[in-house]
Point group: C2
Chain length 330, copies 2
């Protein structure tokens, strides 16, 4: 999209209205393990006024949007061992703790019935939703029934006291991403598993700090897991949440560019996913970011048959070309 | 073992002291799906005074034993579906119920902190332990610390108010035999699983009825599972618990035979596993059973490197040969 916009400027004007440096990051989906060091090592080459990232979705088909907030992430693997090998559930059932049962108990203690996370201190640094954000989001064309139907969910569920958009954009989560233990093939096998494992992650919102939350989580798991099993908690990748004000001048420039590319004013929203490089540029280079993406929510990001609407691609090319002008204008 | 004993009688005496009919069952480990019909169809061929089954273990090396009680079993698979496909935990985390979390919650509601099963009515038909059983078992050479160490368990765990032997022999259990959902490979993947599955089973004791317990379990799961997921509960194989009095004349005959084969009086114990055919013979043919086995608990039943001590095999051959005489004597 940006390459096409650059090409258009060069063809039309023979020059660009601003200097542009391009970073191509191929590790974003696996935690950008090397980007921080690269950015730290190339501070001078990367001097700039603003970072433009086109990795956020439009709110909906025909509803172009500018994203001003992202959630962060901490990800863990929990491993429990009960015995040195699987046991016959007849000969040994009743004598030892079952690590799959213990794991279920540990996970069940992560949230209360209202969907609120029970890790002590977890919500301490959560920036409350502003009234104007809630008001704006209420006006967005979002139908909970249609949304549930598209996902194939019998009904929606989340933290009580918040709408679905508020839950996804502005509230932290705790999810089990994977769980495994014992016999999982066809049929029945009467074993007590020796081990059980869960992968769990928390989406974080401003101003939660992944390191602080990771510590709170580890302490809590150690507290709620019984001494009848061996417990191992392994921290995996993560990223900080991010947010800018939507009256920031670059965000406003992006808004005008989107209007020229798509023929209508964008909505200002947040996004439930994580783009950890946004925090990297903020911290290491002190640069603000503008999230300027044109993907649609139903285009199967990270899934089979991932795709991009060509009309939005063309609108995005035009909007990108105008964006450089709008940024140059200041 | 029995074939050798029969051979010895025929060689020594030219005849057997009792008539013997032999049933070889190859489906016992997968629920004996066809045995009931076979037995029903051959009632006349199978007329007898007592059934002898050599599928129960000795209490320990050097401690021959007669088993007079077995646990039964009901086995289920629980399938939960949250959405039609896995979802990105950033874009959708907070909006929908996570079936792996729901599964953990459902499983966590099966037992209280004292290890007691919370399914309403579950214990209604459990025959209480008799004082003389508890007294006898207390005198058995059983070391909880050594037992835990052999299993590699950090510590033992079970229903409060009962010793380990009592829990395994005379109390029912609820176990997770397998659990699976979401991403379980190496590394981290931020999905909300579409589905989650658990295989669970309950060991039953006299006088619990598998059909009645199955109904109680199904009702309870349906009650505790929320409407945010689709629930499917599938009943798999099972078997009735069984128990005879240890002053039964055939059990006493077996005790004398064991003493002659092993040079010492046997202990009378129960066993935590299930041998559903025992209930089959009881119900369809009205026959008592004598459990007359010589396997050791550490011989890896149902596991790699399964084995049998040759000394116990030889003792078992001699005891079997004497058993026929003792039964003939009445």
């Amino acid at each position: 999209m940006h390459f096409k916009a650059i090409e258009a400027h060069l063809k039309q004007n023979g020059r660009l209205p601003v200097n542009i440096r391009i970073i191509l990051e191929g590790e974003e989906e696996v935690g950008s393990a090397n980007l921080d060091n690269f950015v730290k090592g190339h501070k001078d080459d990367l001097k700039a006024d603003v970072v433009v990232i086109s990795d956020s979705p439009m709110f909906d088909r025909g509803v172009p949007s500018i994203c001003y907030g992202l959630r962060g992430l901490v990800y863990f693997q929990i491993d429990l061992r009960g015995t040195k090998s699987d046991l016959h559930s007849g000969s040994f059932g009743g004598a030892v703790a079952n690590p799959a049962m213990v794991l279920a108990n540990v996970l069940a203690q992560m949230k209360d019935r209202g969907g609120r996370i029970k890790i002590p201190g977890f919500y301490d640094d959560v920036r409350p939703l502003r009234d104007e954000e809630r008001e704006q989001w209420k006006r967005l064309p979002f139908n909970e029934k249609r949304y549930a139907k598209e996902l194939g969910a019998p009904r929606l569920f989340g933290e009580s006291g918040y709408s679905t958009l508020e839950r996804v954009w502005a509230r932290p989560t705790f999810e089990v991403n994977g769980i495994l233990g014992g016999f999982t093939g066809e049929g029945a096998k009467t074993v007590i598993p020796a081990v059980a494992m869960a992968k769990v992650s928390m989406r974080l919102v401003p101003n939660q700090d992944p390191d602080k939350i990771a510590k709170l989580f580890e302490d809590y798991v150690k507290k709620v897991a019984p001494k009848t099993v061996e417990l191992k908690v392994t921290r995996m990748h993560g990223g900080k949440p991010w947010m800018t004000d939507f009256d920031n001048k670059y965000v406003q420039a992006a808004g005008r560019a989107i209007e020229k590319g798509f023929g209508q004013k964008p909505v200002f929203n947040r996004e439930g996913g994580s783009i950890p490089v946004v925090a990297t540029f903020q911290e290491i280079l002190g640069l603000p970011s503008v999230l300027f993406g044109v993907g649609l929510p139903d285009e199967n990001a990270h899934a089979p048959n991932e795709k991009l609407d060509l009309g939005n691609f063309h609108g995005g090319v035009i909007a990108s070309a105008f964006l450089y002008d709008e940024i140059a204008r200041g």
